[in-house]
């Protein structure tokens, strides 16, 4: 597969504090690459280094097989980005913002082409209004339109669903899927909405405290057959006692005595439910927890625990 982004041993220090620590990862052509990490993990700093907003302390970034620092303009002309909040010129209208950033990207478009770009993000009827009258969601959509206006090959989206309502989030998800599927764009997207990420990303990177925890395809990292099941009954403590005498006791998590949380495979859930009924347990709900979220939390929590333990 052809590499679009190749990051090698990238580090950034601010006043002696290491924010990104020897980070390496690769994004291939056509990837929707999920970039995950808790707040302060170093995601935004890494994205800013990819966009030359921040100068790395050490390490190398190659994009489109070229060194970013030496071929900056060429690389950025093929890259579109939304960086954290979609801040635009509030005193200008949507058209003017879009047209202005298109020109800055080295391209100019007809009104019709710009209308198509606005239509892609559902703002075709609000282009003439000043951005200061837009809702947060509309600003976010215009920010995405600005990122896409010059038809970039690589799209970098930093928390693109921030401030959007559920419909807006679904629209952005569909847009990302469409850009990847129909236009073969390479997309790097960071988000804290892990469920959304699981639905759109084919590969992902998880970082914590500036260091890579894991990188790989979502299928490799998250086994969809394995789930975490939250069980709620009328008597959780009694149920736990009953389960401790059955084949399920090894799968029962012990860190939450008042709650019933199971590691279980998808196909075992019906059998487990039947067993609970046979044990005369009054079930209120069986809730499978998002697997990526569980995986993410397990990785970052374990890391925090190990580091705390070694200090």
């Amino acid at each position: 597969m052809h590499q679009i982004i190749e990051v090698k041993d990238l580090s950034k220090q601010f006043s002696g504090t290491t924010v990104v620590d020897r980070l390496s990862f690769t994004v291939y052509k056509g990837d929707v690459f999920g970039f995950l990490g808790q707040n302060g993990a170093g995601k935004s700093t890494t994205i800013r280094m990819l966009l030359t907003l921040i100068r790395p302390t050490s390490g190398q970034i190659n994009i489109f097989d070229k060194d970013l620092l030496h071929h900056r303009s060429e690389i950025l002309s093929k890259t579109g980005a939304v960086i954290e909040k979609p801040d635009l010129y509030k005193y200008l209208n949507g058209w003017d913002n879009l047209s202005l950033f298109a020109k800055l990207s080295g391209k100019s478009f007809t009104r019709k082409e710009l209308a198509k770009k606005l239509g892609q993000v559902g703002l075709e009827n609000r282009g003439g209004d000043k951005v200061k009258t837009y809702s947060q969601g509309m600003k976010q959509r215009l920010g995405i339109a600005v990122a896409l206006v010059h038809d970039p090959e690589l799209i970098i989206l930093d928390e693109p669903t921030n401030g959007l309502d559920p419909q807006g989030i679904a629209d952005i998800r569909n847009l990302i899927q469409m850009l990847s599927r129909d236009e073969n764009k390479t997309i790097l997207v960071s988000s804290h909405l892990l469920g959304e990420m699981e639905q759109v990303a084919n590969r992902m990177l998880i970082i914590d405290k500036g260091k890579k925890i894991v990188e790989g395809s979502v299928r490799e990292l998250v086994d969809p057959a394995k789930l975490v099941l939250e069980v709620e009954t009328t008597d959780n403590i009694g149920c736990r006692q009953k389960l401790s005498e059955t084949r399920w006791h090894n799968q029962l998590r012990k860190n939450k005595p008042d709650k019933l949380v199971m590691d279980i495979s998808r196909e075992d859930i019906p059998l487990f439910a039947r067993n609970l009924v046979e044990m005369d347990v009054q079930i209120i709900s069986l809730k499978p927890v998002n697997s990526l979220e569980e995986y993410f939390l397990s990785l970052t929590k374990d890391k925090a625990y190990v580091e705390a333990g070694t200090n």
């Binding site: 907003l53 100068r55 950025l76 980005a81 202005l100 800055l104 600005v146």
Partner: protein, 291 residues
């Protein structure tokens, strides 16, 4: 580069705050003109009191040229604030709005970005001075007419012929433009270090005030640095209204009494612009955009 400057000018002239300066100049000049139109003769009689005892002064003393001189003298001290209002916002305003990171992530070199922004603020400064010239000179000439210009200084009275005056104003406005671009370059430089425009505007004005105070203090410690302060040279435009005289004490038409001093002042201002702009480029190229 021209395309970038056009974009920057588009942004400047779409901002409401840009027009504050134009409105302020129009209002102030209009008020001064109104005051002189209504009560100018009394003012002139009072000013000419000492002269009229010894000389018979004929003609239209209160004319457009004189009024333009009075307006320039009054107004050019305050215009730096109006210049800083826009130039101090060029980088810090973008950082405050969050658009700086979007700009820097576009395929434009940081040097070109700074140069285009600076050139746009210089164009704004020039536009403001042209606006000032139109109101203070052209409108004054229309209202008060043209005649020889009499300027009274502490020990000298200079009479400049009507035919010898207009070019002096063109030169004076050119010099004033250089002085105001120096202020713009200072405010622009300061705007690199802030994330809102209040800081650079206040800092720019504070520097001008402190330097102006240093200029007025006649102490040996400060006398050594005075020639190097840009504020010492900002009023150099007045030099164009000092006329050379020949051995018979007759005016030499088209002359400037101390042209080398005026040119030296212009050179020092130009050096300041180059220093502030070069420092801006140097710092911005290495700056991490964290806003």
């Amino acid at each position: 580069m021209w395309k970038l400057v056009q974009i920057e000018l588009f942004k400047i002239f779409r901002k409401p705050r840009t027009y504050i300066a134009f409105a302020a100049i129009t209002a102030i000049v209009g008020l001064i003109q109104l005051g002189f139109y209504v009560d100018g003769d009394t003012y002139i009689k009072f000013g000419m009191q000492a002269l009229s005892d010894s000389f018979n002064v004929e003609g239209k003393i209160l004319n457009g040229y004189l009024l333009a001189y009075i307006i320039l003298q009054t107004l050019l001290v305050h215009v730096p604030l109006l210049i800083a209002l826009v130039a101090g916002d060029m980088i810090s305003g973008e950082a405050n709005m969050g658009t700086l990171r979007l700009l820097v992530s576009k395929p434009i070199s940081r040097t070109n970005l700074i140069l285009s922004k600076f050139m746009a603020s210089a164009v704004y400064t020039l536009a403001l001075l042209i606006w000032m010239a139109i109101w203070s000179l052209l409108v004054s000439l229309l209202i008060f007419g043209a005649d020889d210009m009499i300027i009274m200084k502490s020990e000298v009275v200079t009479q400049i012929l009507k035919s010898d005056t207009l070019w002096r104003y063109v030169a004076a406005f050119g010099f004033a433009a250089l002085a105001m671009v120096t202020v713009a370059s200072l405010a622009f430089f300061l705007s690199l270090f802030a994330e809102n425009s209040i800081g650079p505007i206040m800092a720019c004005m504070s520097i001008i005030i402190v330097f102006t105070i240093l200029n007025t203090l006649n102490l040996p410690l400060f006398n050594a640095v005075k020639p190097f302060l840009f504020t010492s040279h900002m009023l150099g435009w007045k030099g164009f209204f000092d006329v050379q005289v020949n051995s018979n004490n007759e005016q030499i038409v088209g002359s400037v009494e101390n042209l080398p001093a005026v040119l030296r002042s212009a050179g020092i201002l130009a050096i300041h612009i180059i220093i502030f702009l070069s420092a801006s480029i140097f710092i911005f190229k290495r700056k991490d955009i964290l806003s």
